[in-house]
């Protein structure tokens, strides 16, 4: 009887779980588009705040960081491969530009920060970095409603634990509100406070 009860409980629990996106990212507080991919554009307001507060080249805009932030004023993402019409993998021209500046000039690729807006490919990379850093805790926060501050993404800049970049913003600040509401934005009845994100960017 006990076993039967456990089985029923397990089935009920499984059925109530939110489906993880089929994007290969795992739990991530971003909706899916019609093709089942992450709707990266919806992340843009949050990306702007992360780029400004965390993504300078001397902090998380660095390839040496587990949490990487790509974007306009810092690290730029260069795809190294793409697919041709036949679905065959090929080296992207941008990859050649990585090691040969003359190719970058000839093809008008963005050569560095400050010269082109943040691309969707860059936001996708930032998302993968953020959501892949603590996947179990991200699942608890984004899909099950745990406190957003459980994630290093917030506990570090709030200085709830040691952070080399020290305290980046205060609890209750616009930046905090932007990121914490985003982390809960896929829960029923919750949404991103896009105004907080927008206003946070008004302060340098």
């Amino acid at each position: 009887m006990k076993r039967l009860l456990s089985l029923v409980s397990l089935l009920v629990a499984s059925a109530s779980c939110v489906e993880v996106p089929p994007s290969g990212v795992g739990a991530c507080p971003v909706p899916l588009d019609d093709d089942g991919n992450l709707d990266v554009a919806s992340f843009a307001p949050v990306s702007g705040v992360l780029e400004q507060r965390c993504g300078s080249l001397d902090c998380h805009g660095s390839l040496g960081r587990p949490m990487r932030v790509y974007g306009y004023s810092g690290l730029r993402f260069v795809p190294t491969y793409s697919f041709d019409d036949a679905g065959q993998i090929k080296l992207a021209a941008e990859a050649t530009a990585y090691v040969d500046p003359t190719v970058a000039v000839a093809n008008d690729f963005y050569p560095g920060g400050g010269s082109a807006k943040t691309t969707e490919a860059e936001m996708d990379q930032t998302l993968r970095s953020i959501c892949g850093m603590q996947p179990e805790i991200m699942r608890q926060v984004a899909l099950e409603g745990a406190e957003p501050e459980k994630l290093l993404l917030l506990s570090k800049p709030l200085m709830l634990e040691r952070h080399k970049g020290w305290k980046v913003f205060e609890r209750g600040s616009l930046d905090h509100r932007c990121i914490s509401t985003w982390l809960h934005s896929q829960l029923p009845g919750k949404k991103l406070d896009a105004t907080a994100c927008e206003k946070a960017l008004e302060s340098p």
Binding site: Q52, G55, S56, L57, D58, C59, L63, G64, Y72, S73, G74, L75, R76, F77, V78, T80, Y98, V99, D100, P101, T102, A104, V105, Y110, P111, G112, G113, G114, S115, K164, G165, W166, P204
Partner: protein, 199 residues
């Protein structure tokens, strides 16, 4: 007993090096024979690699070199006479004026700023009475790196916005653009060298 402790102590001291900084310093070119350490030497290089408590040279809080261009297909010239104004997080600011070879610096003994920093560049005579005119400002904050070339590494790449520059300017001092007047600016690491950690 003391003899036993000595090798351990030596081992501990040897382990105090910073491989990241050592590699950075080792990767810089040698001093040019005509420009021994001084205010004009090593334009475009990450000053705080050596001008820090680790590097041994007099420590700087902020330092860099100003150029005329950051474009890939233009040769940069060093730009003197501009004022670099650094604002820290406690509302304080300091000015440094770029010299004939574009170098500018703030000594740490004079100012220990609270990061992050914001930076703007102004034109005009810094010794005159007319107010200086802002000509450029950084889009992003400086979170911790006092050496401009720590991020503005040589020419532009996905890892660098390129030299600190004021586009559309020409060297203010004609003498500075004469051959031999300034050291050859460092153009950054060889772009064809493999980038560690690159995808």
């Amino acid at each position: 007993m003391r003899a036993r402790s000595l090798p351990l102590l030596l081992l501990a001291l040897a382990a105090c090096g910073d491989p990241y900084r050592d590699r950075l310093i080792d990767g810089l070119p040698d001093e040019e024979p005509n420009f021994q350490p001084g205010e004009l030497h090593r334009p475009g290089q990450p000053c705080l690699a050596c001008h820090s408590s680790y590097g041994g040279a007099p420590p700087f809080a902020v330092a860099g070199t100003l150029f005329t261009t950051a474009k890939l297909d233009e040769l940069p010239a060093m730009l003197g006479g501009f004022t670099v104004r650094v604002h820290d997080s406690e509302g304080r600011s300091r000015d440094a004026v770029s010299n004939a070879c574009g170098n500018f610096f703030v000594r740490r003994d004079d100012w220990d700023p609270a990061f992050p920093l914001l930076v703007e560049i102004l034109s005009g005579d810094p010794t005159g009475t007319a107010p200086l005119v802002p000509v450029s400002a950084m889009d992003s904050r400086i979170a911790r790196e006092g050496a401009c070339a720590g991020c503005h590494i040589g020419r532009p790449s996905p890892l660098s916005p390129g030299f600190v520059s004021i586009p559309g300017t020409s060297p203010s001092s004609p003498e500075a653009s004469l051959p031999g007047a300034c050291p050859t600016p460092w153009l950054g690491p060889d772009p064809r060298a493999p980038i560690q950690g690159a995808k």
